[in-house]
């Protein structure tokens, strides 16, 4: 590879804890890897498992969820719902061949600006080590097999795929 692989990480942060922590990291001028794109939600309970899969399907190399620590949810227990879903979703994602490092749930309170930095840097390093996921290009690669037919079907009646053996 000529160019260094830069992971794309989509992060879903709850507004009260982790989004605020990321703001704090900014106010404190902490420096971390620029590979993360944050999407704000009110509560980690809002994070639909579809969002995580959607992010992967559209080219995310990693997905990070950030919520309030257990017991600290601004909405009392939204983060527990998030935790329960994450447990099973992690299994689904891994069963579907996605490395476990690519999907991460972290509790980061509004005071833990430094933790945003550590977690992001850590995740970027881990994903750099395992390489790109980039599902859209894999989808394209899979679907390339359908072009074989386009090349032949209009010319002859019969299947005449040339044997390469």
């Amino acid at each position: 590879m000529s160019e260094q692989f830069e992971p794309r990480i989509v992060a879903f942060f709850c507004t009260w804890c982790t989004y605020t922590a990321a703001d704090l990291a900014g106010v404190s001028r902490l420096k971390y890897a620029p590979n993360i794109r944050v999407i704000r939600v009110m509560c980690s309970g809002r994070i639909d498992p579809q969002f995580i899969l959607e992010a992967f399907a559209h080219g995310a190399d990693g997905v990070l969820i950030g919520g309030c620590h257990p017991g600290d949810c601004h909405y009392i227990e939204g983060n527990y719902k998030c935790l329960r879903r994450a447990h099973l979703l992690k299994r689904v994602v891994q069963d579907m061949g996605i490395e476990k490092e690519r999907f991460r749930l972290e509790w980061i309170s509004a005071a833990e600006g430094d933790r945003v930095k550590t977690v992001v840097n850590d995740m970027v390093a881990q994903i750099k080590a395992i390489g790109p996921l980039r599902l859209p290009s894999r989808f394209k690669q899979w679907d390339a097999e359908m072009r074989e037919l386009e090349a032949t079907v209009n010319h002859t009646e019969e299947m005449t795929h040339a044997s390469q053996a």
Binding site: A22, G26, P34, I39, K81, C82
Partner: protein, 662 residues
């Protein structure tokens, strides 16, 4: 939902924020890039979007360019989302046709690679521009504000806030855990830098609280539950039994005299420097002037067997051994938390010998010791009965220290100076102050330091290593030796003294985490309650309608505490007088047509906002109860719940577009 197709005309604005954004993100490049995105009618950059001309730019473009969507890329939405929503509505557009992109806190301030930061800004801008297409016009809902206020903690902060509000005609519930109000300030002797007597300035305020018709003062009481939201809190308060009928007791103390016990229990108010009986009044000016019985110590309450001479002695029959705790429920619209601080536990630094050498004291103990109404009547006599000839005051005990607390406790330098003055005045002893840096920022504070220098107090610059009674030579024998590196003189010194005072720092209270959970507010890493914004919202919390004041937010002195208490009171007044507060319209609603009535969502709502309509057999969300977390939306198996401002399509678009790289 089929709506009339409108032509999307989006205005995009990127803010340089002076150099804050502009020096890292190439704003003109982002402007050019956004011009190529679908639906963009205007794309501009500006030095300060939040300034009046910046806002006017948006409003004017909406009017002149017929914009119907607005995106601003600048700082955190937590800071200026409201500002730009207002600008959007100034232009005549519904304020919710607006989306904000955080390219300062989340981009320019945290990244150094300009190309990467600019690319990130473009990604986020593209996502916002795409997302805003799916926005809808929304109305803010209004919640009425109950005019009563709850204040938790009746130290100087709580007292000042209560009086401010009560004088403005508002009804205040002031809840204090201890048997008396007054807090730490009531223990102090004099206050710096004016050296006026703490009691003289505090006790009149305490009695005003007691007598104010608008203040309901509950001592020996604690808040046990908090429900509801801004304007409409339901609070449960537990009244612990004092075993005294408060209305009957006049504080004559005849019961105390009559109690069969000798004075044998540690007097908390005097920091254990004196003893008291199981029935006691914390200090002479305690408010209310009502005694309290400690059930752990009282013979009657512990064993059931006692001749009850106290009850006999009470003319007014105020003693009631059968008193039980009671729970009272109140409704308030706003809350001020002023629970104060905890003094650093000097035991955590055993090298300073507190608890090992009797003549080592904490600052709070000295406050009582030099106090005319203290355990010795102001005579500086040590635990060994002697009078000190030399005293060492050690600064920064449990402050500015990697192994304990990293922060500066802000008040210790000044109170150490004050104690140096008072100790010298009371004992004529020679005083040594051991400091790392003298921190005296405050009106007349530096002058006070100067005065102490002239009074002949010795100052040694260096962090003390240890206090020991090991004598290296004759001079040191029978003394406490302070071993310190004098960083100005450049060598290690051993200074023998008779008495050591530890200037213990300020910490968050032990139960700060419980209080934080109770009121659903935040704590910083050091444990103090977190303000909404360190500069612009210093007494607000992340929960609307709950404010903080005093040292529970961070170490501070009395003037700053009082100022914060006033500010918190003013914030409550502002809400109460407005009568109502506008709430974010980010509530969820159920698309009745698509709901299958599977009930999966109902128990997920912590606010019981979702119910099952038994006739229609569908779930229904009560908008007034919904707080807008979106948990039910994430869980709805047929995507039949929609959260305003966080609709599925809006978030899906955001996901797709942040990833749709250039």
């Amino acid at each position: 939902m089929t709506e009339k197709k409108e032509e999307i005309r989006t205005g995009f604005y990127i803010c340089h924020c002076g150099h804050n954004i502009g020096s890292v993100v190439d704003c003109p490049a982002v402007v050019e890039y956004v011009k190529g995105l679908p639906g963009i009618a205007v794309s501009r950059d500006y030095k300060y979007m939040c300034s009046d001309p910046g806002q006017e730019l948006i409003a004017q473009d909406i009017r002149e360019q017929k914009l119907n969507r607005i995106v601003v890329a600048s700082c955190s939405p937590l800071l200026h989302e409201e500002t730009f929503r207002k600008a959007t509505s100034m232009g005549g557009l519904n304020p919710f046709y607006f989306q904000m992109v955080n390219i300062r806190e989340h981009d320019s301030w945290v990244h150094t690679d300009k190309n990467a930061a600019t690319e990130k800004a473009m990604d986020m801008a593209r996502a916002a521009v795409a997302r805003v297409r799916f926005h809808r016009a929304l109305e803010k809902k209004k919640a009425p504000i109950h005019p009563d206020v709850l204040i938790v903690g009746a130290g100087i902060a709580g007292i000042h806030a209560a009086l401010t509000l009560a004088n403005a005609g508002k009804k205040v519930y002031l809840v204090e855990r201890e048997p008396t109000i007054g807090g730490h300030m009531a223990m102090f002797d004099k206050t710096f830098p004016t050296l006026d007597c703490a009691a003289c300035i505090l006790t009149p305020k305490m009695s005003s609280v007691k007598n104010h018709p608008n203040i309901t003062m509950w001592t020996y009481s604690e808040v046990t539950s908090v429900d509801g939201y801004v304007g409409n809190f339901t609070i449960k308060v537990r009244h612990k039994p004092r075993y005294i009928i408060e209305d009957l007791c006049v504080g004559c103390m005849a019961c105390i005299d009559a109690c069969v016990f000798k004075q044998k229990f540690e007097d908390e108010f005097n920091q254990g420097l004196s003893k008291r009986k199981p029935v006691y009044i914390p200090f002479p000016q305690a408010t209310p002037q009502v005694v309290v019985i400690d059930p752990e110590q009282c013979l009657k309450l512990k064993t059931g067997k006692c001749k009850e001479s106290c009850a006999e002695a009470c003319d007014r029959k105020a003693i009631d051994f059968n008193q039980k705790e009671t729970i009272e429920e109140i409704k308030v619209g706003t809350v001020i938390i002023s629970t104060g601080f905890k003094s650093f536990d000097a035991k955590k630094l055993p090298q300073y010998g507190w608890g090992i050498y009797p003549n080592v004291y904490t600052a709070l103990e000295i406050e009582r010791l030099v106090n005319a109404s203290g355990p010795t009547g102001g005579d500086v006599v040590m635990r060994d009965g002697k009078h000190p000839k030399r005293i060492g005051i050690i600064h920064c005990v449990g402050s500015r220290d990697e192994s304990t607390n990293k922060w500066c406790s802000r008040v210790c330098c000044m109170y150490s100076l004050k104690l140096a003055h008072l100790l010298h005045e009371h004992s004529e002893a020679e005083i040594y102050n051991f400091y790392i840096d003298m921190r005296t920022p405050g009106k007349s504070y530096e002058e006070f330091y100067d005065r102490l220098l002239k009074e002949g107090v010795n100052f040694v610059r260096g962090r003390v290593a240890e206090i020991t009674d090991w004598a290296m030579n004759k001079d040191e024998e029978d003394h406490l030796v302070i071993r310190v590196e004098d960083t100005l003189a450049g060598f290690v010194r051993r200074i023998p003294v008779d008495m050591v005072v530890l200037a213990t720092g300020l910490e968050a209270r032990e139960d700060a985490q419980d209080v934080r959970r109770l009121f659903n507010i935040g704590c910083g890493g050091e444990g103090f309650f977190m303000e909404r914004h360190p500069k612009l919202a210093p007494v607000d919390t992340f929960t609307e309608g709950i404010f903080i004041a005093g040292a529970c937010q961070g170490p501070k002195d009395i003037p700053d505490t009082v100022a914060q208490a006033g500010a918190a009171a003013a914030q409550c007044l502002a809400l109460i007088d407005a009568g109502a507060i506008e709430l974010e319209p980010n509530t969820a609603f159920i698309d009745e047509q698509s709901c299958s009535g599977c009930k999966s969502c109902i128990s997920l709502c912590p606010y019981t906002a979702i119910t099952f309509d038994a006739v229609k057999k569908k779930a229904v969300i009560n908008e007034a109860l919904c707080k807008g977390c979106g948990t039910c939306v994430g869980a709805c198996p047929s995507s039949s719940i929609i959260q305003n401002l966080y609709e599925d399509d809006q978030i899906f678009t955001e996901i797709e577009e942040v990833l749709a790289h250039v």
